[in-house]
């Protein structure tokens, strides 16, 4: 419940991002459709060419998976149902883009000691990685890195900022496979 205001912020931020994408005209010709078995054609409702996102790119991932970030409760690395739904969409995208390798970044809020938080961030990154792997993503495509409390996403010293900082971020290379 404490997360509610933040979720709304996230949702509107996402809407803005999508709106921004939609308005932007493609600078060059749309790239050819992705070839290979990964493109099942099942997900045609929002094909990349309509927005100019390069298939397999970070922008494509963010649009189709919805978000690159899942959140954790204090001192926990459990993947809750909300996080599961996000990671499932990420796993589906990764299944469609089998040449893309990702890095999962684990982060902690500032209310922990430095070294413990490095370990906690590693736990969170591995939780997300293991969930992706359990849902069909080759674990060899996923590397992990923990930043502990070194790279907060929100700068406040309050519960809402800390909730935004307890996170695992699936980072797709900007250009996709160029990893």
């Amino acid at each position: 419940m404490a997360n509610l205001p933040f979720r709304i912020v996230m949702a509107s931020a996402l809407a803005l991002a999508v709106a921004g994408c939609a308005k932007k005209k493609p600078a060059e010709l749309p790239p050819p459709p992705a070839s290979g078995p990964a493109d099942t054609g099942a997900d045609t409702s929002g094909t990349s060419t309509q927005t100019g996102d390069v298939p397999g790119s970070r922008a494509d991932f963010l649009r189709q998976a919805g978000t690159d970030t899942v959140y954790f409760v204090t001192d926990s690395h459990d993947i809750d149902s909300e996080a599961q739904a996000i990671l499932l969409r990420q796993a589906q995208w990764l299944a469609r883009n089998p040449r893309v390798r990702v890095t999962v970044e684990g982060h902690a809020d500032e209310r922990g000691t430095r070294e413990y938080n490095l370990a906690l961030g590693d736990r969170r990154a591995n939780s997300a990685k293991n969930f992706l792997a359990a849902n069909g993503v080759d674990a060899g495509r996923i590397s992990v890195i923990s930043y502990g409390k070194e790279r907060p996403a929100a700068t406040g010293s309050d519960e809402s900022a800390w909730a935004q900082n307890r996170r695992a971020v699936t980072v797709v290379p900007v250009g996709g496979t160029g990893f």
């Binding site: 001192d75 500032e110 000691t113 430095r114 070294e115 490095l118 736990r123 923990s146 070194e150 907060p152």
Partner: protein, 465 residues
């Protein structure tokens, strides 16, 4: 005038550490000589001149530290000997005042001291100032380019000399002569070990909270001689001195691979300690300098390992499924204190150096983290998490817990070389800005350590040789 020096120190050219003069006594026998000299000169009254350090500091001892004269004003690369005499007295004053155990008289109450008076103080004058102890000395340029700092401690009431030391230093290391003088006074009057002639390595911080720039930096214990060691390109964390003080173990995010490195102060080179596909962090040297104990995270599980400081195959010391980290050796090297959340939350554990006999020692409310063993062996300092973040101490068996600080977030204690003072870092609410602080073991005399930028992760080095 001839200075009797129980032992003399000299600084070899181009090196940043002091070397004992050939044929002179070792530190151990030098201390014996000092005590012997003190006993020789001590009167009963002098024997009673002592700062009580057992409890809180009730009343700091009034002490007079006048400007130190020079037998002949001589130009040196560090300034002329007359101005050095003033600056040496200032450093001795700051050191002793900073300990919280002494109350140096203000400049206005001091009288100039002629060179001939250094060994023959005007006791009637000093008595009426209210000073109980008097530090006099001199700075002299020697023919070989070195400096001699003479340091004399007097009991004002009895009119007796109770300590004297002479220090031969290269001009570039003149501050060390002052710190050694302050250490002479401090040890003689408190019975505690020296700590002023020591250095601190820490992480200098600047920049926005989302993207702090962190650099290794080294400085004297009083903040002087500050120097950056890394350029800030990669995040660096948790530096710790090797016993030889020439090597620093730390963690760096170089190339987005967070790993433990060692840094050579002399050459400025860094070397990866363990080449593993996993994150390594939380390094500390063993007291003999031969090993580094560290944490490694493998598939989300963090355990403690040991590796030869020169590199090699890591030996796993813990196997719990929890987070085991922040390992610190006892000064005799036989035991290791660490934190683990194997029981649910972070708590402190002690094990033998080979990993056997793991036993929990913290049982209070809240969580306990970042334990560090006192160089004196008698205490373990830690971060206590419960509501706020505080620095506290307990015995190595877990008894006698005392919380010493109460900031928004106080974290990461490190002991002075004599185990008497604890340095830590304090992070502000909201800003995320951190700075270095120190506090006496009794929980009093909390003070900020001056740094050019923000600071975190301090590690106090051993006493300089």
């Amino acid at each position: 005038m001839t200075l009797m020096t129980p032992f003399a120190l000299s600084l070899s050219k181009g090196r940043s550490f002091l070397r004992r003069a050939k044929g002179r006594a070792s530190t151990g026998s030098a201390r014996t000589a000092l005590l012997a000299a003190a006993a020789l000169f001590a009167t009963p009254a002098a024997a009673q001149l002592r700062v009580d350090v057992s409890g809180g500091i009730a009343q700091p001892m009034p002490i007079a530290i006048p400007v130190m004269p020079t037998p002949a004003a001589t130009g040196t690369p560090a300034g002329d000997t007359a101005s050095l005499g003033q600056r040496v007295a200032e450093i001795v004053t700051n050191d002793l005042k900073g300990s919280g155990l002494f109350s140096p008289l203000p400049q206005g109450q001091l009288a100039p001291v002629a060179f001939a008076q250094v060994t023959a103080p005007d006791f009637p004058f000093w008595t009426q100032t209210g000073a109980q102890a008097l530090v006099q000395g001199f700075v002299q340029a020697n023919g070989d380019g070195s400096l001699t700092v003479g340091c004399y401690l007097y009991d004002v009431v009895s009119g007796a000399e109770i300590a004297r030391q002479g220090f031969v230093v290269q001009p570039a290391a003149w501050r060390r002569g002052a710190h050694k003088c302050a250490d002479t006074v401090y040890t003689r009057l408190t019975g505690e070990g020296p700590y002023f002639d020591s250095r601190v390595v820490y992480v200098s911080e600047t920049g926005p909270k989302k993207k702090r720039i962190k650099r290794l930096a080294i400085m004297d214990q009083d903040g002087a001689n500050h120097r950056f060691l890394t350029n800030g390109r990669a995040i660096v964390l948790t530096p710790r001195f090797a016993p030889n003080q020439q090597t620093i173990a730390y963690m760096s995010f170089e190339n987005d691979r967070p790993r433990v490195y060692v840094y050579q102060i002399g050459s400025g080179t860094q070397r990866l300690v363990v080449d593993q596909p996993n994150m390594t962090f939380a390094p500390r040297f063993s007291p003999d300098g031969r090993s580094i104990v560290f944490s490694m995270a493998v598939n989300g599980n963090t355990d403690i390992y040991r590796v030869p400081a020169s590199g090699g195959q890591p030996v796993r010391l813990t196997t719990s499924p929890g987070i085991d980290t922040s390992a610190s050796y006892s000064p005799d090297g036989s035991k290791i204190v660490f934190e683990s959340d194997r029981g649910g939350g972070q708590q402190l554990y002690v094990m033998n150096a080979d990993g056997s006999g793991q036993q929990r020692i913290s049982f209070g409310g809240g969580r306990y983290a970042t334990p560090v063993w006192s160089p004196r062996g008698d205490l373990i300092a830690f971060t206590k998490i419960g509501g706020g973040f505080s620095v506290g101490i307990m015995s190595p068996t877990g008894g006698g817990e005392r919380i010493l600080t109460h900031g928004w977030q106080d974290e990461g204690p490190t002991f002075s070389p004599n185990g008497r003072v604890i340095m830590f870092f304090r992070t502000g609410q909201g800003s995320g800005k951190a700075d270095l602080w120190s506090v006496d073991l009794t929980g009093v005399n909390e003070r900020r350590i001056p740094t050019p930028l923000d600071g975190s992760d301090p590690a106090w080095g051993p006493l300089l040789p």
